[in-house]
Amino acid sequence: MSTSIQLKKVVKRFGAIDVIKGIDLDIEPGQFTVFVGPSGCGKSTLLRMIAGLETISGGDLLIGGERMNDTAAAKRGIAMVFQSYALYPHMTVYKNLAFGLETAGLKRDEIDRRVKEAAATLRITEYLQRRPKALSGGQRQRVAIGRSIVRDPNIFLFDEPLSNLDAELRVQMRVEISKLHERLGNTMIYVTHDQVEAMTMADKIVVLKAGEVMQTGSPLELYNRPANRFVAGFIGSPKMNFLEAKRTAADTIEVAGQSLRLSSDQLGQAMTSVPITFGIRPEHIVLGGEAGQSLGEAKVDLVEHLGGSTSVYATMTSGASLTILAPGQLAIQHGETVPLRIDAANCHAFGPDDQTLRR
């Protein structure tokens, strides 16, 4: 069964400091939602408030339409996977999985059935009699997830569950968690600071900064139409390039000495001659060719050959630094001057308040 979650003006206060500043959020039943943001943005605190591990200082938390602010954590129908896994080191994997069920007073046969079922789902059956210390990081992570599954909760919460794993295992577990979501269909909230995890796993991403929601939307919405400079810079890798610019006409801006024509939709209501920020993703800059418009030239400082793509770090004639991600293997040398071309449709413009100018 999956359940909806609603946050209405939710606030968390530590002393005089508001760490969560009135968040409104709707999470649909069965949705995989990712809270993403830099360290200290309040994403884990928000998750813990939903779990019932932190009190809510203001606003309402509704789970399945019911107000849950003061409901005990155990009664919210929630299971949580912790960053540290929080496995009980003195219990076997079996006992770890069974702990919650024993607490709930289930019969031994039922506990055994559920534990074995979860173990089979997560391929940890052969480790059931081992202690956590005899398991690898990935296996421990599976046990931690298994402990959540056996309780058959309505909602799963994940607090940076992959951050203790190495890169390869992280990718593998990422896929497994996504598959698990597909199979179970439960509402899941996943906290991470890794935008790649957010992009690859989420139905919906909530970007947080300093206790406030910067933008909510599907991964591609956030990528294609970032609401502000923060989201534009946070989503996408390598990071979006930002250049100082100036609006010279209704559909024209001046960037690095070049005049670029954008649609008036992209530029919104910004006044001419007000300084704005022009944004272009590294993968949207083309080196040479005739397509699109010219962004001038840049001198190559460093080239990284990744095989499938090439990263180029360059300095424009105006002195601004630029990152370019080109597909394939480019034969470019350090010190070379390259012409830059862009497609206006891929450009972003932000006002002096860092909000997008797009209408």
Binding site: A51, G52, L53, A72, A73, A74, K75, I78, A79, M80, F82, Q83, S84, A86, Y88, P89, H90, F99, G100, T103, A104, K133, R147, R151
Partner: protein, 316 residues
């Protein structure tokens, strides 16, 4: 001597001189190390190991401080086992004291540590205050104070009198005297408490959070998480406190005026040993008593360590 034998002898000589050279070199190289080690080493040899070995020898003699010791074989040990009712009484008192005081003290220390672990403001101050009795506890002054408090006309009875209760003489009544000393021992809970507190702080909070999401009550969390995860610390405190309790001397000596009375009710083993050695000048017999205590403590410690596989959980 054949040529081969001669050459073998020469090689052997060469080898031994090379060994001597390398030994001399090693000593010279490590001389500063030994020099720094010397104060401890001399102290250990002269003040610990030496006297211990001498006492082991004396335990097989009739030494009385005045005359040279005569070897008497196992006689001291045989007497202890067959013809010394006071030894049996001292054993009984000591075991009772250990069995009562150690669990009570540990339980009390754990309870206070758990209270202090709740993130109180001013925690360091409370910690220091609670630790204070342990600093003072073993001192003569506190034992004297304790005697005053628990005397027939002491403060405890004055307070009880307010409620119309006529308290006994806690110290001079053999029914209560040992229990009064047990209470004194429990009151000195500071040092195990500090160790428990350090142990409690090592238990990650997310274990409790995971358990609370599972619906585990505080008592289930205590029995299923706190106690097992604290078991190495409990074991450490248990062994140390038990050894301390076996060796307890000062409180009984002061409270009973050195007699172990009334009617041997506070005749701790070490107190009896002291009486035999410095009251009756039976140094040989007292040495045998000391060695029996060492053996008892060693056996207890060995069994404690053997038991760890059943109840102590070491992580990682």
């Amino acid at each position: 001597m054949s040529v081969s034998e001669r050459s073998a002898a020469a090689t052997g000589k060469g080898e031994s001189s090379a060994l001597a050279r390398s030994l001399r070199g090693a000593v010279r190289r490590n001389a500063p190390g030994y020099l720094f080690l010397a104060p401890w080493l001399i102290g250990f040899l002269c003040l610990t190991l030496g006297p211990a070995l001498v006492s082991l020898y004396l335990s097989f003699t009739d030494f009385d401080l005045l005359q040279a010791p005569n070897f008497v074989g196992m006689q001291n040990y045989i007497r202890m086992a067959t013809a010394d009712p006071k030894f049996i009484a001292a054993m009984r008192v000591t075991f009772l004291y250990v069995i009562l005081s150690v669990p009570l003290k540990l339980a009390f220390a754990l309870a206070v540590a758990m209270m202090l672990n709740r993130g109180l403001t001013g925690l360091p101050v409370y910690r220091a205050i609670f630790y204070l009795p342990s600093l003072l506890g073993a001192s003569v002054a506190i034992a004297v104070l304790w005697r005053q408090l628990f005397a027939a006309d002491g403060m405890i009875n004055s307070v009880l009198a307010i409620f119309g209760i006529e308290g006994p003489s806690w110290i001079s009544n053999p029914r209560y005297s040992l229990y009064t000393l047990v209470v004194l021992s429990v009151w000195q809970f500071g040092s195990p408490m500090i160790i428990f507190l350090a142990g409690l702080r090592q238990i990650p909070t997310d274990m409790y959070e995971a358990a609370s999401l599972d619906g585990a009550s505080s008592s289930r969390q205590f029995w299923k998480i706190t106690l097992p995860l604290l078991s190495p610390v409990i074991f450490f405190n248990f062994v140390i406190q038990t050894i301390e309790a076996f060796k307890a001397f000062t409180p009984a000596f002061i409270v009973s005026g050195g007699t172990g009375g009334p009617i041997n009710s506070t005749l701790f083993y070490t107190l009896y040993l002291y009486q035999e050695a410095f009251g009756n000048f039976r140094m040989g017999y007292a040495s045998a008593l000391a060695w029996v205590l060492v053996i008892i403590i060693a056996i207890f410690t060995a069994f404690s360590f053997l038991s760890t596989r059943y109840w102590v959980h070491y992580d990682e």
